[in-house]
Every structure is written in structure tokens, then in C-alpha cells.
Point group: C2
Chain length 305, copies 2
Amino acid sequence: MSALVLGHMNPDTDSIVSAIAAADLYSKRGFSVAPAAQGEPTPETEFVLRKFGLTAPRVVKDVAGKELWLVDYSDLPQAPAGMDSATILGIVDHHKLGDVTTSTPLEAWIWPVGCTNTVLKNMYDFYGVEIPKNIAGAMLCAILSDTVIFKSPTCTEADKKAVDALAKAAGVTDVKALGMEMFKVKSAVEGASMKDLVFRDYKDFDMGGKKVGIGQLEVVDLSILANVKDGLYEEIRKVKGEGRHSVFLLLTDIMKEGSEMLIVSDDPSVVERAFAVKPDGKSVWLPGVMSRKKQVVPNFEKAFK
Amino acid sequence: MSALVLGHMNPDTDSIVSAIAAADLYSKRGFSVAPAAQGEPTPETEFVLRKFGLTAPRVVKDVAGKELWLVDYSDLPQAPAGMDSATILGIVDHHKLGDVTTSTPLEAWIWPVGCTNTVLKNMYDFYGVEIPKNIAGAMLCAILSDTVIFKSPTCTEADKKAVDALAKAAGVTDVKALGMEMFKVKSAVEGASMKDLVFRDYKDFDMGGKKVGIGQLEVVDLSILANVKDGLYEEIRKVKGEGRHSVFLLLTDIMKEGSEMLIVSDDPSVVERAFAVKPDGKSVWLPGVMSRKKQVVPNFEKAFK
């Protein structure tokens, strides 16, 4: 039985592409592995897979008894069912260290960079394995997505260096044009339900013992979301109703470089404590805030303490 | 303020040498760091430091408010006081993933190899940093110690390859002779109190909610321990009395390649469940068992479930 390489819930482009890339690298290192995902690709990820002729990994929602390589996360709230009886062989990630533990030694590559695919690019180099052209293209897109075309405060020199090398390997000459093409696909809301939009990039966190959901939609212009904003607010009210203390939805304008945050919370004052701005009822504009991981989660964690 | 590079409680040679080596590497990568240790070096570690002209890291027992790089562990029971308010910047390790978590992204290099210094050797190579001759010698000894001169089942090809390269860098021509010289020092019990011997390489574990202590003494011939065995047994009875469910002490004969395990437990039947052998009262001979990490801890974890 092959081990599964599996990213987090509500998979984004980094999570799906890193499963594909890690499965390629591990199989070339001699491991028996197959990529998997906890859900279907988003429109952005579909665009990336189609552009580079890759297939979406099969969807796996229960990993009981399986061997796993985790990519792009290390916390149990983002893991699938059956983790208790799964064996974790390794982790590749770029987030804070979560509450996953193992009962045997593992191989973990976790770096404070903008994207898991940046770590994987370095792992390919370390093991002297050549990156297939199509996988290099998808990895490049994952880094552009996670770093918001280098604009996110999570972006590091290592990410830029990886993009340069991956662009060469993939034969991509205009990296920023490819990034904008991808973000235009990501910005589209036509045909998507409110639930689809809220969960497109959504994560639950345990903050001071409280369940807090934070979603993010990144668009090239906030006006794209003008007609759906009320619907999104109603949707996160429902999500909160399922036993959460708070749900926040970041509507990020990647050109203006800031986020409007929609707020539903048992204690809206946490927003003021976290960001030192007073919310205007249901929402607040957070200038310069682009990164859930680096700017939003740490501030809320402190505020919830 | 420099960040501290700090190994686990009851530091062994790997823990102390990896703090020294990681501090050297990180400082050459541009970080402000200093090596530290949670205790004084054992006679084996003292031999290694003296042999290669290195100084023991300063002892630090409280890390409140400090920035830390962890080496050779990732679990809270082995961490010093003050971890709640410390910031973990990174981990280099070769054990199972423990319950340490972080609130910000970190740099973790954790590999399923025989020794943390094997991971560090590869990190030096990855970053293109030359290993100083004396540090290479100490790293070599740490790998020989952790892998019991390649005899432990934890020893991998990566460890042997690292030893070859480190021996060249350190100018050591007879690796096995150096290993035996070191293990003879490690075997010596003269002048040490029973408490010193039990805690020379001792770790507490949480197994199914129970506190379980496992120590290990490695000697070149078990007869060396004949005169102290009763004293060691009395000592682990005391250690158990301090609120533990069980304390086990492995007396490992590195030439015969097996361990006598001294047993004090509220439920001695766990030994039978763990190893399918019936203990003879206070102890049991476990042929082929050399590694606490790979052979003893996983078996007990299953038995305690």
C-alpha cells in the first residue's frame, strides 16, 4: 500500500501542488507514495493544474491505518478523520508547528518561508532530483499564490529565489503576468455559492480554548465582491452558529494591499484588541494586512489569551 | 540578546555537541546565538570536549522570555522551565515529533537518522558552511555514541556517511578505536553516585497518561556494573517514589548487543506485554535491544495504551 502525501482541509493551491511535488520527489527517492487531497481543487488550483497539464490528486477524507506524509500543515484541526491510527512518516510545511505528534521518528522539513513549495524546491536540490517541467510550473504558481506575487509580508528571499529557478525550469518568461492571470481566476465569484466562497480558503483555530474560524478571499479589486458581501456575511453567521466563538472573513485587495474583514463574534472587542482599530459594526478595513498566517492569526492569538 | 541553542534535560553527548555545532552554524548564517545546556556534561561528553578542545556550554535551567533553537528533542517534558513564554525559532532533531508547538513559523530539520549531529552535518553542507575541525571531531563522537559505533538499530546509511566525512574533516583515522575509547570512559562507574548513574541518560515519558521514566547505561561489558546493580535498583525505586508509575533502567552491553532492564513498576506486566518475555522479578535480559528510542519506547507506548 502506498503512503499518501496529503495537505490540509479546504486545500489551496500550495496544499495540492505540494502533495503532487512531494509525491514526485519521494517516489524518486524510492518511497512508495501517491498524492491525495482533502477536497476538490478551487478554481485557482484548477487553472494551475490545467495550465501545466497536471491531474488533481484523488480526494481522501479518512486516513485510518494509513501511512502519511503531511504537506502544508502540522495541526490536528486541519487533519482528516482517522489520524489517531495513521502513521506520519514526514512533514513539509511553512507554518507554525502545530499539535501533530508521532510515535516514531519522522522526516520534517519546516521552514519560515512564504510557501511549502519553496521548501520542496530546496528539497529537490538537496536530493539532486530534477523537477519535471510541468511540476516546476505548478510549484511556481503555488509560491506566487501564497506570497500574493511577492506582496505578502510572508514572502522571503528564499521564495523569490525559488520562483526564479522554477520559472527557468518551467520555461515561464513573465512570472508577474502569470501571477496576475491566476489571481484574476481566483477573483471570479460567478457561479460559486456563498458557502463555496467562504470555504475556499478557510481554517479553524483553537484560540485560548475557543473555536475561531478565519477565511480569506483574495481579489484583484474589492469591487468584485460588492454584490456578494451581504451573502458572505450571512454565510459566516451560519458557520459561527455551528459552535464557533467567532468567524472572520478577510476580503483581501491584492492591488490596494489591505483587507476588509467581515466579523461575527461573541465578543467583537477581540478585533479592537487584536488590531487597535474600532470595527464599524460588521466589518473593518485593515490597511496593509494581506497575510492570515503572519498578520491575522498571531494578533488574534494574543487577543484571545 | 542572543538566542540560545539548547538540548534536552540530562544532556548526553549528542545534545551538548549539537548545541555547540548548531550555534556555530547559525552564527555563520547570520543569527545571534549561543550554545547552552540543561546540565553539566557526563564523563563521556567531558572526554569528547577535552579531546577536541571544546568548552562545555553554559548551564541554563530557565528560558522564560528567551528565544530558543531546540536541538535533540521536541517534547515539553524534556524542556526547561519557562518554555511557556519562550519563542522557539527552530528545531534540529532525530526523534519522534513531540508536543512542542509554536505560535510563529519556525525552521525545523527533523530526520529519522541515528543522531542529531548527522542532521547538522547535512545542514552545514546545505548552507555551504565548512565545519571547524574540532567541532567535526565532536560531531563524529556524538554519532558514534548515539549509534553505539554503528551497532544500534537506529543507525542509518546517512549516519555512516556523515561519520566518514566528519572523520576526514577532523583528521581522525581510526573511527572505531575512537569510539571504543569513548565507550570505555562511558562505562566507568567509579566515583559516580547511584543518582549520577541513573540520571546520566534518563528521560521521562507520558505513556497513556502515566509518567514513566526510562534510563540507560551503556557499557562495554555488563560485569562492570555487577557491584552497583543493587544500588541502581534502590535508586530507581526512589525515583519511582516521586510520582511515577514505572521506572526502567537499561544496562546495555554494547559488545554482547543486548540490555538487562531493571524494573520498578506499579504494573510489571507491561514489560511482558511490551517485550513478550517474563521478567525474573526485578529485571529481564532483552537480547538485541540497544536503542531506547527505537526498541524500548515504542514497545512500552503500545503496552501502556
